[in-house]
């Protein structure tokens, strides 16, 4: 197997870690403000899993980069254009329905991706995927059940969920569009061909949305620019002003 370009591998690992970092941060914003105590606990749990996964992905990214940076350096000291997460995860929480819909649409991709990554030719990648996939299996079940419950709940909850789906659907496509980094990963057997994941994804999402009595939006338009880093949404910068505040304000301090 061809030796993989380490810069590409670094980018791939940043994508995995930035997705979990940014989504974990978003979910943690709910802490203490959820609709019911059980949801406060469940959301904190999801955020904790995602932050733990971030430590593993960005830790490996830093090791591959070999420039003496740590996972924390990558999380706290890069600016917007160096982030490689998909646009979906940086979208604001909105109401609880929007948060849960975002979670489900990402989790379904995340599960398919991690499942494939457990068979990665890169042993470190396979090990992280094996650890994460169990957590994400649970996330997708929980988010899916909640989407179903709220979609098939009251008129108001149904309308809110449909609105959330319509809003977020254009951010789904970016997760499946391969670029040269993805091609290099697939060629080296490190990661799957992203287009291969779409079938399982569509089947799972269709089943959950049907049970939720929600209508999949027409059209295949997809926003892009997050995973390439070319053009994030304006939301990411504001997220970073909070997340990175202490490290930026007190450079070099140890916490």
């Amino acid at each position: 197997m061809a030796a993989v370009d380490q810069a590409h591998l670094f980018t791939f690992l940043c994508r995995m870690g930035d997705n979990t970092l940014v989504l974990g941060h978003r979910v943690s914003e709910w802490c203490g403000h959820a609709p019911v105590l059980e949801e406060d606990i469940a959301l904190a749990n999801t955020a904790l899993d995602l932050i733990g996964q971030t430590q593993m992905w960005l830790g490996l990214a830093a090791k591959v980069e070999g420039k003496d940076r740590t996972a924390d350096d990558l999380a706290m000291l890069r600016d917007v254009w160096d982030f490689r997460n998909v646009l979906l995860v940086e979208q604001p929480n909105g109401d609880f329905g929007q948060t849960i819909m975002r979670q489900f649409l990402f989790d379904a991709w995340h599960l398919a991706m991690l499942t494939a990554l457990t068979k990665s030719t890169n042993a470190d990648v396979a090990a992280i995927a094996a650890k994460s996939v169990k957590e994400v299996q649970y996330h997708v079940e929980r988010a899916g059940d909640t989407v179903i419950g709220l979609g098939d709940g009251t008129t108001e909850s149904h309308q809110r969920m449909q609105k959330a789906l319509d809003l977020l659907w254009p951010y789904v496509g970016e997760m499946f569009v391969p670029d040269p980094v993805d091609d290099a990963m697939a060629a080296a057997g490190i990661a799957p061909d992203l287009t291969d994941l779409r079938g399982d994804y569509d089947a799972l999402v269709a089943s959950v949305l049907a049970q939720a009595t929600l209508k999949t939006p027409e059209g295949s338009f997809a926003h892009k620019g997050g995973k390439s880093g070319f053009q994030h949404s304006e939301h990411l910068g504001h997220l970073l002003t909070q997340m990175q505040w202490l490290q930026r304000a007190y450079p070099g301090a140890s916490w």
């Binding site: 203490g32 959820a34 505040w245 490290q247 301090a253 916490w255």
Partner: protein, 325 residues
């Protein structure tokens, strides 16, 4: 404490029943929800456990305030896990209170409209990262002082909830102290931040135990019923004696010029907090009362459609299942 100024209810009941009940408590027996109990015992416990539960819930807010600004991934995970624990404590305590015949929703409504209280400490702001250390060290530390003896409280469900809670609280206190240590040994700015946090949170932490209740008839009744195990002053003294050496070890100064070791009593002499401020805080005039209650009300109001939606779905499923049978 998490339950401050809980007035015990006077009870007018058959003296023989009361005496038999007291004898069970004196013998160290646990009272279980189905057992006979004086109305005053029940009412006082609902107030006390409810207030304790509400404190755990509102207590998520001052620490939740820093989750999105935690300085490292590890600190963020630890803080998130801690705040999640507090939500879990709220849940155990609401369950314990529910065994006395009041629902969680009823108690929540009473918190939200001000009929029930929560600990005064959570009406103070968290202004710097050092406050995350100080809260764990001082606030969880003070909570442990009260909750460890409450593991032996007479009401079974409360006692069992306290046993679970205490295991986690001591972990919180150690984590808080570890944050303080890091700051106290850090840069001059970090050290100043740590001292600043101690300056602001020392007296509010002492207030957590409530004003002196040595002469309070309510306390006497609660202590006889073993729903209060020590006087407020005893616990406060214990807390000061434990905490002052920890502050010294950190190289921080407790903001009390009168603080002095009293060899004769084997404890520190220390200044009382400003009790006028305390009464202002518990009647609604603390620095963050308005924000805390507004945040809880907003979460509850905004979440109504979610709770209603999930409930409606559960009912639909049940109907479908019945129809299918």
């Amino acid at each position: 404490m998490y339950a401050q100024m809980v007035k015990s209810e006077a009870t007018q009941e058959d003296p023989e029943m009361l005496a038999a009940f007291q004898a069970r408590i004196d013998a160290g027996e646990k009272i279980e929800p189905k057992d006979w109990m004086p109305a005053g015992y029940r009412k006082t416990l609902i107030r006390q456990i409810g207030q304790h539960a509400h404190s755990e819930i509102v207590g998520q807010l001052p620490e939740g305030n820093w989750i999105t600004r935690a300085p490292t991934l590890e600190r963020k995970a630890i803080l998130l896990a801690k705040v999640q624990d507090e939500a879990g404590h709220g849940l155990y305590l609401y369950c314990a209170a529910e065994t006395l015949g009041v629902t969680r929703d009823e108690m929540t409504e009473m918190l939200l409209d001000g009929r029930m209280k929560y600990s005064s400490i959570f009406n103070y702001p968290t202004l710097t990262w050092a406050d995350m250390g100080a809260v764990g060290w001082l606030v969880d530390g003070a909570a442990i002082m009260n909750q460890v003896p409450l593991q032996r409280t007479s009401f079974g469900p409360y006692s069992r909830a306290m046993i679970r809670v205490c295991k986690e609280e001591s972990f919180h206190q150690r984590q808080g102290y570890a944050v303080m240590m890091k700051m106290a040994q850090g840069t001059p700015a970090q050290k100043a931040m740590a001292q600043n946090a101690l300056n602001r949170l020392w007296f509010p932490s002492l207030m957590m135990f409530g004003p002196s209740d040595a002469d309070s008839t309510h306390s006497v009744q609660s202590m006889a019923w073993k729903i209060k195990m020590n006087t407020n002053d005893e616990l406060r003294q214990k807390f000061v004696d434990q905490t002052v050496p920890q502050a010294e070890y950190l190289g921080l100064t407790v903001p009390d010029e009168t603080l002095n070791w009293n060899a004769e009593k084997g404890g520190y002499d220390f200044a009382e907090p400003d009790w006028d401020e305390f009464f202002e805080v518990i009647t609604g005039n603390g620095p963050c009362n308005t924000e805390r209650l507004a945040a809880r009300n907003k979460a509850w109001d905004d979440g109504k459609w979610v709770r209603d939606g999930l409930l409606a779905h559960a009912q639909k499923r049940k109907m479908r299942k019945v129809a299918a049978e």
